[in-house]
């Protein structure tokens, strides 16, 4: 264990986010020196190194026990506006990992693109926002971080300026995002009106039941904001288009990191600011709202994914479905606790960060090759690129929740957690059932892709496919982690449960 004393320089606890921000600034500075150069290796290198450094710092903090109850508990910064605890670090790791993978993969994918430095700096700014979201402990910081994450994302989705799909996706994402953030900030104002505070603990302390209607509408509007960020029904409409139209690495980035960041603020806000017990007394049973959202989101996402022909769009809908799985983490919270299921949701988001990023990066690879977008276009790819296709099979089966892979474990824990909570709240039986049914359905369309790649014969003869080093490295790394996370699940689960216990307990 590294002995690490943050008492003197508490702001360094935000290290992972600061590293990302500095990297983004460094890219701006680099680009200012010679705006016309597109030195891909340097730019991509800076981004990768920066995100890996952020990952390193976050992992180091976790190992050193920063924010752990044994070393003084969560670190409050700026009067409680930010808080660095284990959950914050956990999600900072998720964000940094996804950013690193996407940075590496983008080196090849964005090879012909003019705005190299802008691309990476926007991505790192968005990552900074997500990282700060993980630590935000006040509705102010949450909103700012959320916008910091969102605004660069809009630009990133639309960054292929001459590609109609990309622009259409960017527009839709932006418009729905703007609408959602307006709703969200209005919800914040209502919560502020009901309690007079924006800092989460202060809100919890000032829940007096005077303005239940105001509070209730405000909470629902907050849920709307989270639902947008996590692509949960009914705020998911942007997601299929944005993921389909955006450059594939950006789709990976948004559907993994951005979603995880959306969940972390939801976890924190609802466990810290709105204790379920009090809120239920006031007639604001947000757990029920999440139960409904979870069921609807799972069902819509998976059902819509089932008959897609476009692989990327299928993954986009499946991403909606997975948001539904992770929502169980909030839905199954009960008055008595629920750190197990919350921890399971956190684990699911971590595993999802690898398998989903990997899946989208495979799509990026296919787009790089230019083989086409539909399932048929993918037919027989395994013959030409077996390694990547093995990785794809791993991602698909892990996403579907087939046993040896990471995706199974997290889903399994979610399931058992929901069942456990069902003893208190029978409605969760429906959630658990929906989880099973939807997982079964998801196997259909995931395996369809594996079948296309491995079993079907190619429709057209293809030329030999190159093996871009960056994309391959990212895909293989994601696949390896998806597999080895099984033996590593002990520590991961422990961290997630600790983090969840701190939040709930």
């Amino acid at each position: 264990m590294v002995v690490f004393d943050l008492s003197e320089w508490t702001w360094t606890a935000m290290g992972p986010a600061l590293v990302l921000a500095l990297t983004a600034l460094a890219l701006f500075v680099f680009d200012s020196i010679n705006p016309r150069s597109t030195n891909r290796p340097v730019v991509a290198g800076i981004a990768t190194v920066g995100s890996l450094a952020s990952l390193g710092v976050a992992v180091w903090y976790v190992l050193a026990g920063v924010g752990h109850p044994d070393t003084g508990g969560a670190i409050d910064l700026f009067g409680g506006q930010l808080v660095v605890d284990q959950m914050a670090l956990f999600f900072m790791i998720v964000v940094a990992v996804v950013t690193a993978l996407v940075s590496i993969a983008s080196y090849d994918y964005m090879r012909d693109h003019a705005y190299q430095a802008e691309y990476y700096s926007l991505m790192l700014l968005a990552a900074t926002g997500m990282s700060v979201m993980a630590a935000s402990n006040s509705l102010v910081t949450i909103f700012i971080a959320l916008e910091l994450a969102s605004l660069p994302s809009y630009a990133l989705v639309a960054i292929l300026k001459d590609n109609k799909g990309s622009v259409e996706a960017g527009l839709k994402y932006f418009l729905i995002g703007a609408l959602s953030s307006a709703i969200f900030v209005y919800g914040i104002s209502l919560v502020y009106g009901a309690t007079g505070h924006l800092q989460l603990e202060a809100i919890a302390a000032n829940l007096d039941g005077e303005y239940n209607g105001l509070l209730g509408v405000g909470v629902l509007m907050l849920i709307a904001g989270f639902a947008f960020k996590t692509a949960s029904v009914p705020f998911h409409f942007w997601a299929p288009e944005a993921y389909e139209g955006a450059p594939a690495p950006i789709s990976a980035f948004l559907s993994s990191a951005s979603k995880a960041a959306g969940f972390v603020i939801a976890f924190r806000v609802f466990t810290t600011a709105f204790p379920l017990e009090t809120m239920t007394d006031f007639g604001v049973d947000w757990a029920l709202a999440f139960i409904i959202l979870a069921i609807v989101t799972m069902t819509v996402g998976n059902f819509a994914a089932a008959t897609q022909n476009n692989v990327k769009r299928m993954l986009a809908y499946s991403s909606v479905g997975h948001a539904g799985y992770a929502l169980i983490g909030l839905a199954a919270l009960t008055v008595d606790g629920g750190e197990l299921v919350l921890g399971a949701a956190m684990m699911h988001l971590l595993v999802y960060g690898f398998m989903n990023t990997g899946a989208f990066l495979f799509v990026a690879l296919a787009e790089y090759w230019g083989v086409g977008r539909t399932f048929e276009d993918y037919n027989g790819l395994a013959r030409q690129a077996p390694i990547a296709c093995v990785a794809l099979a791993i991602f698909m089966f892990s996403l579907a929740g087939i046993p040896p892979f990471g995706g199974f474990w997290s889903k399994y824990f979610l399931f058992t957690g929901a069942l456990e909570a069902a003893t208190v709240n029978p409605a969760l039986l429906v959630v658990a059932a929906a989880l099973v049914v939807n997982s079964a359905l998801s196997l259909y369309y995931y395996s369809r892709l594996v079948k296309a790649v491995w079993i079907e014969d190619p429709v057209l003869e293809r030329e030999t496919l190159t093996q871009p080093a960056g994309l391959y490295a990212a895909i293989v790394a994601a696949a390896v982690v998806t597999v080895v996370i099984l033996p590593g699940f002990g520590p991961v689960a422990e961290l997630a449960y600790d983090a969840a216990a701190m939040l709930v307990g």
Partner: protein
């Protein structure tokens, strides 16, 4: 004469709904954006009114942040609308609908 807090809420709610109405009916991207700004400002009214009501400055300061962020949002939005016009020769938000189902 002090105006009761509920009237501020009513005003802001009205503004919010006007914005929402604009979002739902305007097809011009710029009008869409303006409508969203209306909704954001409705929130600002709330924040400032409640800050006054609760007697702390948190809401006011947050309103400042909201304004700054709204400006940033507009900047990004205008950029996107610009490329939208370039690609579709139109700023009608219902035109780009190639991706669906």
């Amino acid at each position: 004469m002090t105006v009761g807090i509920e009237y501020y809420v009513l005003l802001s709610a009205a503004l919010f709904c006007i914005g929402l109405f604009g979002v739902l009916t305007r097809r011009n991207a710029l009008m869409f954006l303006m409508s969203v700004e209306l909704m954001l400002n409705a929130a600002n009214i709330n924040l400032i009114a409640f800050a006054f009501y609760h007697g702390n400055l948190t809401g006011q300061v947050f309103a400042l942040f909201t304004m700054a962020l709204a400006a940033a949002e507009v900047a990004v939005g205008l950029g996107i609308i610009l490329v939208l016009y370039r690609n579709f020769r139109d700023v009608d938000v219902t035109v780009p609908s190639a991706m669906r189902w």
